[in-house]
């Protein structure tokens, strides 16, 4: 007996999902489903593409056309789907490792092309599925099984990375701030061009335990206190913003979209006749 939303948007016979108690991925997956609903899209015209990792299990649960692909390659598969049938709404669900390490090149080149995909990165700051290795978004100084003395790498800022590579809509939300996250995904889906929305997740099992962050509830409290809406942050002092993470829409611009330009070439060359 699930809610109407879950009944409509999920493969209910596959639930409860495999994610650990308190994992933010369940919240973020519901946000994606709610955003699709809010856009009023025909479910038959929606494709969810995922790669590998905890985040990417989402494709198994969501009741749309789904494609669970190989590690780091979700965006490459999604590019193929979109080019073959541009009328589809293609949403990629990926993780921090999948999107920015193993699939880092696919990410930057899809941004560069401004292809109309919506990429939602469930960022849990670690490789959860394989046992807690540090990822490109593990904060500097924090621990993973492969960084037992603290990570000396500096972490990526994913929306900034995407923006500088050419993405025309970038945003960041959190698992805790649900209405904001839903709206950011909704705006990403509506945006015609490459959209990237980072969803800060909560991984109590690996990131939390390795870094003594307390319970799942403690980790959501941390998001509540430390993730600040960029609009609100404008009224805050530099001291108040020390160590805080900004959320909300990070960038947006309009630029010709890739499949439109591709179809235009086909038309010019008479390939549509």
């Amino acid at each position: 007996m699930p809610s109407k939303l879950i009944e409509k948007t999920m493969r209910v016979n596959r639930l409860p999902h495999i994610w650990c108690p308190g994992c933010g991925h369940g919240i973020l997956m519901r946000d994606v489903a709610q955003a699709i609903e809010n856009c009023g899209l025909d479910p038959d015209k929606v494709v969810i593409v995922s790669g590998i990792g905890c985040s990417s299990r989402a494709a198994g649960y969501m009741n749309y056309n789904t494609l669970h692909t190989t590690h780091g390659r979700a965006i490459a598969f999604a590019t193929g789907v979109k080019l073959a049938n541009p009328e589809l709404t293609v949403i990629v669900i990926t993780g921090d490792g999948d999107a920015t390490a193993i699939g880092g090149n696919h990410l930057i080149h899809a941004c560069r092309r401004n292809i109309d995909l919506t990429v939602v990165v469930f960022n849990n700051n670690i490789y959860g599925m394989t046992g807690g290795q540090y990822s490109p978004t593990t904060p500097h100084g924090e621990k993973g099984t492969t960084a037992p003395y603290g990570n000396i790498d500096y972490n990526f800022d994913i929306p900034k990375l995407a923006e500088s590579a050419g993405a025309t809509y970038t945003a960041r939300g959190t698992a805790f701030h649900v209405p904001q996250m839903i709206k950011l995904i909704e705006n990403g889906i509506k945006h015609h061009g490459f959209s990237l929305i980072e969803g800060l997740s909560v991984c109590p099992t690996y990131y939390g335990r390795k870094n003594k962050k307390g319970s799942a509830v403690d980790m959501y409290n941390w998001q509540k206190e430390n993730c600040i809406d960029a609009a609100k942050a404008q009224k805050m002092s530099a001291e108040e913003l020390e160590g805080k993470i900004l959320t909300g829409e990070m960038s947006r611009c309009e630029k010709p979209e890739y499949t439109d330009m591709y179809m235009e070439i086909i038309r010019k060359c008479g390939g549509d006749k």
């Binding site: 007996m1 699930p2 809610s3 109407k4 879950i6 999920m10 639930l15 409860p16 999902h17 994610w19 650990c20 108690p21 308190g22 994992c23 933010g24 991925h25 369940g26 919240i27 519901r30 698992a175 805790f176 649900v178 209405p179 319970s215 799942a216 509830v217 959501y220 409290n221």
Partner: protein
Amino acid sequence: MENKKLVINPAWCKGCGICAAFCPKEVLAIVHEKVQLINEADCIKCGLCELRCPDYAIYIEKEGE
């Protein structure tokens, strides 16, 4: 508010405690690793528990649906 009902599906609840911790009215508690209503009368049917439950185990149902 009268035509809304708070529904719990214990089979899907993993006892993470998020719903109880962030309920503005202290309506919920975790008992033997499952969510339980301890103070139903105070529930304002705000739906925050539904939005943040990672397992879709608690939600507001509107009557007639």
